[in-house]
């Protein structure tokens, strides 16, 4: 786990790229350490964060790092509310408040197990940096990704030769990405699943992994206020009872440890 510099720092957005309906933001982070795959950052626009008709956003928002390199940190954003809407407006030169990298990332698969990366929508973001790392380490890392439709599926370019599923069949397999996952497991059960996406998809992956007795690491999302363990707001229920804080005990958690993936 990479330790974050203490406190919030302000980066300058270098690039804004549209990928179908998604937006990819790049911001150089000279003072930050290299994040590990699966870690995340708390982001807020340096200017005009908040206000507007519902006076939100007020708190920062959590985003998985999609890639990190000489060009800077890369994030993949989908507009779902006022915070993501504001962040997606940012362009070159705009200030971006960041805290991070935060949380615990992915662990490599045991020897003999091949990684199956299973992503849905913006949830493909952490899988991109994880696939890079696995391939660089000479390990297989097949990507199975699902989207609403062909327009959203354009974000598929972020991963190396992915198998794509769309709800409307406009691109790739007509159906759910978990169906692709099943077929992969049928072909070769010695796999380790790495999944990120909407709660319903993650819950399906959790149940499937349990049924097939295949190890699975899930990169979870939860409403967060702080991202560093201060507020106790981001909890998920554990199989053994009680709760874990997504931000410090996760966001990547072992599927077997979870009671369920709570609906958003």
């Amino acid at each position: 786990m990479s330790v974050a510099p203490f406190g919030r720092r302000t980066l300058a957005v270098a690039q804004r790229r549209a990928l179908g309906p998604y937006v990819a933001l790049t911001a150089p982070d000279p003072d930050g350490p290299a994040p590990e795959p699966g870690q995340f950052y708390m982001l807020a626009a340096a200017q005009r964060w908040g206000g507007g008709d519902d006076e939100r956003p007020f708190l920062p928002r959590a985003f998985s790092v999609m890639r990190a390199g000489p060009a800077g940190l890369e994030f993949l954003l989908e507009v779902v509310g006022p915070g993501t809407a504001r962040l997606c407006e940012l362009g070159p030169g705009d200030g971006l408040h960041v805290v991070g990298p935060l949380g615990l990332g992915f662990d490599p698969p045991d020897e003999g197990r091949r990684a199956l990366l299973c992503g849905g929508g913006a949830g493909i973001a952490p899988l991109a940096i994880w696939q890079d790392a696995l391939l660089a380490a000479g390990r297989p890392a097949a990507a199975l990704i699902g989207f609403r439709d062909g327009a959203h599926a354009r974000a598929g370019v972020l991963l190396a030769n992915p198998r794509v599923a769309t709800d409307d069949g406009s691109t790739g397999h007509h159906g759910l990405v978990t169906e692709l996952l099943e077929s992969e497991l049928d072909a070769d059960p010695d796999a380790a699943i790495y999944a990120c996406g909407p709660p319903a998809m993650l819950e399906a992956v959790r149940a499937l992994a349990a049924r097939r007795a295949v190890p699975a690491q899930l990169a979870l999302e939860a409403g967060m206020a702080c991202g560093f363990g201060a507020c106790f707001g981001c909890v998920v229920p554990l199989a053994g009872g009680g709760y874990a804080r997504t931000c410090v005990d996760g966001p990547v958690l072992d599927a077997a440890a979870l009671a369920e993936v709570p609906a958003a």
């Binding site: 786990m1 330790v3 974050a4 510099p5 203490f6 406190g7 919030r8 807020a44 908040g50 519902d54 006076e55 939100r56 956003p57 007020f58 708190l59 920062p60 408040h97 805290v99 935060l102 939860a222 409403g223 967060m224 206020a225 702080c226 560093f228 363990g229 201060a230 507020c231 106790f232 707001g233 981001c234 909890v235 998920v236 229920p237 009872g241 009680g242 709760y243 804080r245 410090v248 709570p262």
Partner: protein, 302 residues
């Protein structure tokens, strides 16, 4: 140096209980946290006699310039706190204030007695915003009930007792007075305002797993200032003021209202080092606007 009922503080900025987990922050930010620790004393989150898992999620709801939370005081219980957390919190570079809550005087007595001989515990803060099991109201909202609880607790510890008053009352100055009369060494306020968060898409259902919650952040600052002023005008013991503090100017407003120290809560969520900035801003602000000496603070070394 500031004297807060016996605690010698480097500067007037504390954390609000339950808004900073120094142990988790140490893991996230490493030694940098200790090198530039933002608070002059660290206030633990509320500890109860038995462990609590806390409320079911969702626990957070963002409101205009505010936050409604229904965390539900998750904690390891007295034993877990003393055995697992206390050693790590004792290693912090500042005095430790342990915040405790009980729904009966007996529970509170057991808590303060257990902490009394821990020299690592510089002071004890009583969270009396706990709903009374009988009335559902906060224990701290009834002056007589509060006084009775304090009279039971006060003799059982040598540590300074800070009473964290509830803002959900008609006359907070009166409850503060009752706390002082019953032996409180200091009072702190405001805790969160009782609030409700509707589901963003289904107005008829609650958003929070626990149904209701408490409001904090800039939205409550004007209410907090009114309550801190009323309390500071009434009692002689020192007052720790909090509620929506985001800048040094805000801190100065609370100090001017009669607070001896202030606490930063929700703003730390927006920036883990916000209190360090606030401390610097406060110092510069007081230097410029030459406000009463009593409020002078040391510059952050950073």
């Amino acid at each position: 140096m500031i004297d807060l009922c016996g605690l010698a503080l480097e500067h007037p900025i504390l954390n609000g209980s339950g808004t900073y987990d120094a142990i988790a922050a140490r893991r996230a930010f490493g030694d940098a946290l200790l090198d530039a620790f933002p608070f002059s004393a660290f206030v633990s989150k509320t500890i109860t006699l038995e462990p609590r898992a806390g409320n079911p999620p969702p626990r957070l709801y963002e409101t205009p310039a505010g936050l409604v939370n229904s965390i539900g005081l998750p904690n390891k219980g007295l034993r877990g706190y003393v055995e697992e957390d206390l050693p790590q919190l004792a290693a912090l570079p500042v005095p430790l204030v342990t915040n405790v809550m009980g729904s009966t005087a007996a529970e509170l007595v057991a808590l303060v007695e257990a902490l009394d001989d821990r020299d690592d515990v510089a002071a004890i803060e009583l969270n009396v915003s706990c709903p009374n099991v009988r009335t559902g109201l906060d224990i701290g909202s009834d002056p007589d009930e509060l006084a009775a609880v304090l009279r039971a607790v006060r003799p059982r510890t040598r540590r300074p007792l800070v009473v964290k008053l509830t803002p959900n009352t008609a006359d907070v100055a009166r409850t503060a007075q009752a706390a002082e009369d019953a032996g409180a060494d200091a009072v702190s306020l405001i805790n969160t305002l009782r609030a409700y968060a509707p589901h963003p898409r289904r107005p008829a259902s609650p958003w929070l797993g626990a149904g209701a919650g408490g409001l904090s952040g800039p939205a409550v600052r004007a209410v907090a200032l009114a309550q801190v002023r009323a309390v500071a005008a009434r009692v002689a013991v020192p007052v720790v003021g909090m509620g929506g503090i985001q800048t040094g100017a805000h801190a100065a407003q609370f100090l001017s209202a009669g607070a001896t120290a202030v606490a930063v809560g929700t703003e730390s969520f927006r920036d883990p080092a916000a209190a360090t900035r606030i401390r610097r801003e406060l110092h510069d602000f007081l230097a410029k606007s030459g406000v009463s000496r009593s409020m002078a603070v040391h510059t952050p070394d950073s």
